[in-house]
Subunit: 340 residues, 2 copies
DNA sequence: GTGAAAGCGCTAACAA
DNA sequence: TTGTTAGCGCTTTCAC
């Protein structure tokens, strides 16, 4: 490995001067500068960032915590985050732990990461873990939906990117009721007790729009409560077998919605003629689905980008912020008039 | 930040001894060990890995280079890689550069990464760049399909995970011809000149099975030649408008296949009654597609896992390997008898 | 068995 | 304007 010393020797200057031209931290005379630059070139010198990190107590490295990457929703978020990280000289490391493996907290601390984006609201962090990270000087931003932002008790200094589903869900209800729907189910994939702002909004608007409601309309999932297309298929299939009559289903995400559509067809019914389906997230395949899925768009890359920007602001200026991101109802072909 | 010195002070021993109990590198008497462990506990001490890295000239950090993460194909690969990395105390950092941004090569070197997995065969690396990485002591494994493994001129010491599409493509042709197909197109998404083992196999088996062939059967893409559902839709639509008559289409990946199915329906035709479609990759949505897609399964998580294992073997034992991974034809409902 | 001390490659304060 | 030097927190060799 070529070190700064090698360059200094070759150029006949001191290591410090080499540093100064590498980092442009001080004025260096043109002659020396040229000499040094040539030496760098010839030796193919690349500064050792590990050493730099140690000296500066800063790694320009952040982490992203996701439940899964084969889920394109989180993939898109990671992609957005990586983009602004890269533009700012940062790198992002991946954490996709299985189950309740909290190893990554130590990993983040021991590697002196500058920050981490907790992209999954589903993880349960203990007060202690968060405190530990905070004390260790790692900034973190949490991704939350607005229904939960109130829960941030401010005992932590963390920024938040939040997603405001409510207006879009309201629009969805407006749209569906105009089409004559009065019995609308919610495909949650989660346990009954699970709270989620989407579920909350669903419940609210069922009431506000004066629609029919039965307990069964909230379709729950099964342990371990994932929300893939397969889960949507399974849960919807089970729901259909109960004979509960609904004309529309709001799925907690597009994956579940796509699975649900398959289950509906499997039962000899049609989307949207017999049952209308609305998804959520607008993943890149929802448009190519058949029928193209009516869904709520969430700006995923943007979310990743904003998360990284917030992280940067925490790291550099100790600034705490909350950025709410807007969602939007996208009407495609999986929704139509309610069946009589 | 609590350092090893703090622990040593508290426990009344020397820093070196603390190191030895932390890393179990030497025998330490039970009494001291207990004292030290208690001190570690009380101070919430977590070793600084940056310092360790510098001292050991090893970072236990690797990179993965992908074209995009919102593509679940690469997401799944990254997920597999992260999994075995984590199990081995490594972390994986993300590179999803846009266009011909080779910045990441310097990044990898300056951050002393132990290795990198080049998951995309599409990137063009110059001999120089690769040499540079090699000289800097970063191991790398490339993901290739077997048609290209011969191209590895062995001037680099890199391992390879390869994908053997050929037997599956042969099976696909066998299956399609048995269904009466004689005019089969290849939806490539790529320029005419682009070579790819899938294309090669396609051409081979067209010949071996004595099928019809016209230049137009190879459906090319458009700059910048991505292979998303949108591209598949666009390219297939254009192809259909030319009136070239085929009864089946082999798409270079599932995304393209899903887009193509949409285009076919858009033209008032049906899948598989009018045109059969075969995809490739078996991404997690292909089963939920409508109709469920006949495709060639590639073991994506496995690929990521194997890549990391190869990296580990290069890093630890200087071992070079090539692991060929098998693919498998999965027959679902997007293929059927050829239209008369 | 335990500890002192040199060194990993760099930054930054200070001296020259 | 340039160079010297003392760290950053850890590993590891070599005395004790």
């Amino acid at each position: 490995m070529t070190t700064r010393q090698d360059v200094a020797d070759k150029a006949g200057v001191s290591p410090a001067t080499v540093s100064h031209v590498v980092n442009s931290t001080k004025y260096v005379s043109p002659e020396l500068k040229v000499k040094i630059e040539r030496a760098i070139e010839e030796l193919n010198y690349i500064p050792n960032k590990t050493a730099r990190n140690l000296a500066m107590n800063k790694t320009e490295q952040v982490g992203i915590l996701v439940p899964s990457l084969s889920n394109p929703y989180f993939g898109a978020i990671a992609e957005g985050m990586e983009q602004v990280a890269r533009q700012n000289g940062y790198i992002v490391s991946l954490f996709a732990p299985e189950g309740s493996d909290y190893q990554y907290i130590s990993t983040i601390i021991e590697r002196q990461m500058d920050g981490v984006f907790l992209a999954n609201t589903g993880f349960q962090f203990s007060e202690n873990q968060l405190k530990h990270m905070e004390r260790s000087g790692v900034s973190f931003v949490a991704g939350l939906d607005i229904g939960f932002s109130g829960k941030n008790n401010n005992s932590f200094k963390n920024s938040i990117v939040s997603l405001d589903y409510d207006p879009s869900i309201r629009n969805m209800f407006k749209y569906l009721t105009e089409l004559g729907h009065r019995r609308i189910a919610f495909l949650s994939g989660m346990p009954v007790a699970y709270s989620d702002s989407r579920k909350q909004s669903y419940l609210d608007y069922i009431g506000k729009f004066g629609l029919d409601f039965e307990e069964e309309f909230i379709i729950t999932g099964n342990y371990p409560f994932s929300t893939s297309a397969k889960d949507g298929y399974r849960d919807m299939k089970k729901f259909l077998s109960t004979g509960t009559d609904v004309t529309a289903v709001f799925a907690i995400n597009d994956l579940m919605a796509i699975g649900a559509m398959k289950a509906i067809r499997g039962a000899g019914l049609k989307v949207p003629e017999d049952i209308s389906i609305v998804g959520c997230d607008n993943i890149f395949l929802s448009e190519a689905a058949d029928p193209p899925l009516t869904t709520i768009d969430v700006p995923k890359e943007e979310l990743g980008r904003k998360a990284m920007e917030l992280l940067l602001r925490m790291i550099n200026n100790n600034e705490i912020n909350e950025i709410p991101l807007e969602t939007e109802l996208i009407i495609r072909d999986s929704t139509s008039f309610a069946k009589k």
